[in-house]
Amino acid sequence: MAIVGSGVSDSAKYEIVVIGSGPAGLSAAARAAELGASHILLEASDQLALTIQRYQKGKHVMAEPGFLPLRSGIEFDAGTRENILSNWEQGAAKHKVNVAFRAEVIAITGEKGAFEIETRRGQRYHAKSIVLAIGLQGNPRLLGAPGQEADFVQYQLDDPDEYRDETIVVVGAGDAAIENALALATHNRVYIVNRRDEFARAKEGNLNKITDAINRGKVQGLFNTTVKEVIHKAEDNKPGVLLLNTADGEVRIPVNRVIARLGAIPPRDFVEKCGVQFPSDAPAAVPELSAQYESNVTGLYIIGALGGYPLIKQAMNQGYEAVEYIRGNPIKPVDHDLLAKKFAGLPFDYDVEEMLAFLRNEILLFKPVNPLRFRELILESNVFCPPPGDVIFARNDYTDSFYYVVDGWVEIVVDEEKDTRIRVTAGQFFGEMSLISGRRRSATVYAGEFCVLIETPRRSMMRLINSIDEVKRRIDEVFMLRAIHSQFAPNSDLSDLGELISSAELRNYNRGEVLFAEGEEGDELHLVRRGSLTVSRYINGRDVVLSYVPAGKYVGEMGLLGNIRRTASVRAAVPTETVVMKSGPFLQLLGRDPELKTQVEEQIRQRLSLNSRIEAGGEGGELLSFLMAQGLGEATDVLLIDESLCIRCDNCEKACADTHEGTSRLDREAGPTYAQIHVPTSCRHCEHPHCMKDCPPDAISRNASGEVTIADNCIGCGNCESNCPYGVIQMAYPGNKQPSVWSRILFGSEAKTTKSADAQKRAVKCDMCTSLKGGPACVRACPTGAAIRTSPENFVDLIKRGG
């Protein structure tokens, strides 16, 4: 391995320069070396694969997805972090990969055949082609002061016990800075530098600890202070000096070490500066790439996490393939055989590439999707030919995948009683309602003749919708049409709805935002398509919640019937999207359809009678407000404990631990209580589970009966744990054997987990005991009936009960 020194520019012109030495970049560089291409691998840090280096010690790294073979000159299989890193180092040495460390690339200019690459230390490299593989972790924000690249300035702290009797300045005011300062303070003299006068961004626990440490003089706190300069000159036996601007003037501190914890800068800005385009502004967007991983900048290839592929194996395969493509070898992608198998049963005489092209052409929705994403989408999807009459999904199922009709047709039952069906034919899609609302299927779908379908999982669809605006727009259009049709006019012709639909629009509301307020004038009707609303009135000087409106229901109907002064306020309980309709065209529809008119009148009557009951009932409305404030507006199934019945025996937790490898997935005591109703810390199986957002192996899913569960292919990365806003996911060791009933009775044995060397921590949370026939063990084990699981629709019972 060659290491290029600071400031030296490299006059050679490389055939391939690979940027970033993660699994993607390393695999690319190794392939280049194997093929004898002149190359260099530029890595910002001083180690290979910084992201992997930063995993916790001893972490078991998984090789997901299992079905995908590995294609790389570098070895990779599931194993400990240490094993994998040492394999990679050996692999790099074996292939004589040419690496330059501490070479953070800050600019790419030029064009195919003549790129120029500049690093932070001022070196320049020249390349014909570039493979960009810098991942998504971003680069640490730098000190932003002269001298910041000194050796004794670091942006990370692996093991605080490594340092003793040093003078260390930690710069930053977030949790990482505070945790580092506290950990180092046991054996060192530690300063913490904060630009402001308080630690506003830190967690409560850290805030207390650091305030305490500063008050006790264990850590020296420097507030309203910025770094002026890092001086590379030894003083007092220390390698350098830190010059600070404080409120009382300049301060010099001779230091052994400066640790800057100022957060990370996401790589997008840098990538855009290189000329690469993103299809949308959404943070989840990934750059446009060709089937050969080439970006819109010809000669610049993007692979790995940065290209939208979140797993190590995918990243390594792409590294290999990208280099082959650069060298002009049109190899078949490694997933070719998998796709061939997928397409095997279909009634089309095409090979894999032809089939992909055909599908992309056939289905309108896919027009804006680039070939690479499309291929991935199909790989994640299921292609099948159901026999006529088969149920694709049934009304009230909790499935949430999305379907396209490739050939033939399906029939959607829009009116159960009259068995009114509409036909969805080749080129169209269905299943978008549940995808958007996160709720049960609103209709049953039957296969028609010659039916060929593609079924895409929710996760893949969401990724697509979030990154390509055009796909979102097309789905939204169809959604509005069908939602209005099935909700208000299942028996009228679509053409009758033209005006209503063209006057309708989509609106987004943040949590707590008001759609309309009591006393206001307004005649718009809102159909909730995602999220949920609360309806409240001002009673005795307080805002009292009267009801909860889930996705699929509508509000504002009173305005339609002439009563344009709103009688109640409506707010978003969680982030919510509604379809807004104007009263004019809607009234025309009512005029034509007497049945609909009675239906709307009936809803108004029910709502009014419920409202008056609550107003008389007292506490119920406040209880409902409380529950909504706990975020239960987005729950589908929630554990509620009536504390006036709960004898605090914790049999619920014991039952959970016993049936779930020794770790209770609920924390009975934690969580708030109002009017004796307690919301313990336990999964609520959200309509749009936040936990699913960022799971690299897609291990989290919702099953047909509605439970959100985590499968065995969890890699233990902890993303879901931090994404769940309700703190219900834990990382835990499994415990295989639980004590028997007898040892519990005789010796009081408790549930246990194993912690052996090869055990791997995994994400665990409530799975509603799907594997037990009887239902949730916690509820079944509660002696007094204090614990129940219920859904927000039933909260109305609470109100009727008056508390």
Partner: protein, 296 residues
């Protein structure tokens, strides 16, 4: 939304229990044995068998409660049945004796049974009252967060005393060190606060430190009040006031904590009569059955 175990399934087991009891009474009243009423008549034998069966089944509740995978009803249903059928044993068991009591194993079994039953009824009363009181007393805090708040108050107090100097600082610090709640079963149930603190005593011109009780910080609060009243320095006085506020809050939290410990203790303690007496009952019952058949 929630239904307690007493109202489980519209109190179906209450109905079963009433029917069973009435049937036993009617049978007892109607049946006229040749010999004096006792467990040896066919009715006595029948009632005895039902009773013994019930006792064994009532004991099995402890197993069902811990069989977390069991699909045999819910624990709530079992408890509902346990409670109502358990009470019906008073009638079934009493009629089984035929009112023949003496100083023997038979009567011992009967007495043990009544102890278990009445302790159970006491348990039900506790289950009905205490949960709600515990919540009200907790005031949305967990026990853990109460402890955390107390240690936060201690931290504040120890920073405040730095401005005061001896001997108040030492008194406050020792009150923190010698803070103690909980302890043995008895002090838990008595809501006993065994916290102490050290105070200086002048013996001639020598100063000695003596330990005194500081239950719910009362002693310390008195000390502080007295100090405030004699303090002439407004700055020091302000600090003393602030310190008093902190200690008063701590005293309030301690009160809550003690009450919480006491009530949770009460919710469990009765089981320490109910369960051991159950095992004593099972032993006595076995002896009773063996001896009856042996002498038959």
């Amino acid at each position: 939304m929630h239904t307690g175990f007493l109202r489980f399934a519209d109190a179906a087991y209450l109905k079963v229990s009433i029917i069973l009891s009435l049937a036993s009474i009617v049978a007892y009243w109607w049946y006229d044995p040749l010999e004096p009423a006792n467990g040896g008549t066919w009715l006595g034998f029948t009632l005895g068998s039902i009773g013994a069966g019930l006792i064994v089944w009532l004991t099995l509740y402890g197993m069902r409660k811990r069989s977390y995978r069991s699909r045999m009803g819910t624990v709530q249903g079992w408890l509902s049945a346990h409670v109502y059928l358990g009470v019906s044993l008073i009638i079934i068991g009493t009629l089984h004796t035929g009112f023949q009591f003496g100083l023997n194993i038979h009567t011992l079994s009967y007495v043990l049974m009544l102890i278990v039953i009445f302790s159970g009824m006491w348990g039900v009363v506790l289950y009905a009252r205490f949960p709600e009181l515990i919540t009200l007393n907790r005031n949305n805090l967990t026990r853990h967060s109460i402890f955390r708040e107390i240690s936060e108050l201690d931290r504040k107090a120890s920073l405040l005393v730095e401005a005061l100097g001896s001997p108040i600082d030492r008194m406050v610090i020792t009150s923190i060190q010698l803070f103690s709640v909980g302890g043995g079963v008895w002090s838990q149930l008595a809501a006993h606060d065994s916290s102490k603190m050290m105070i200086p005593i002048m013996k001639g011109d020598k100063r000695q430190w003596k330990k005194v009780g500081n239950s719910q910080q009362a002693y310390l609060l008195d000390m502080l009040a007295q100090q405030v009243s004699v303090c002439r320095d407004p700055a020091i006085s302000a600090v003393l006031q602030e310190l008093s506020d902190v200690i008063r809050t701590k005293s309030g939290l301690t009160g809550r904590l003690l009450k919480d410990i006491r009530m949770q203790g009460m919710l469990e303690l009765w089981l320490y009569i109910h369960v051991p007496m159950t095992f004593a009952l099972l032993a006595a019952l076995s002896a009773h059955i063996v001896s009856v058949f042996y002498y038959w």
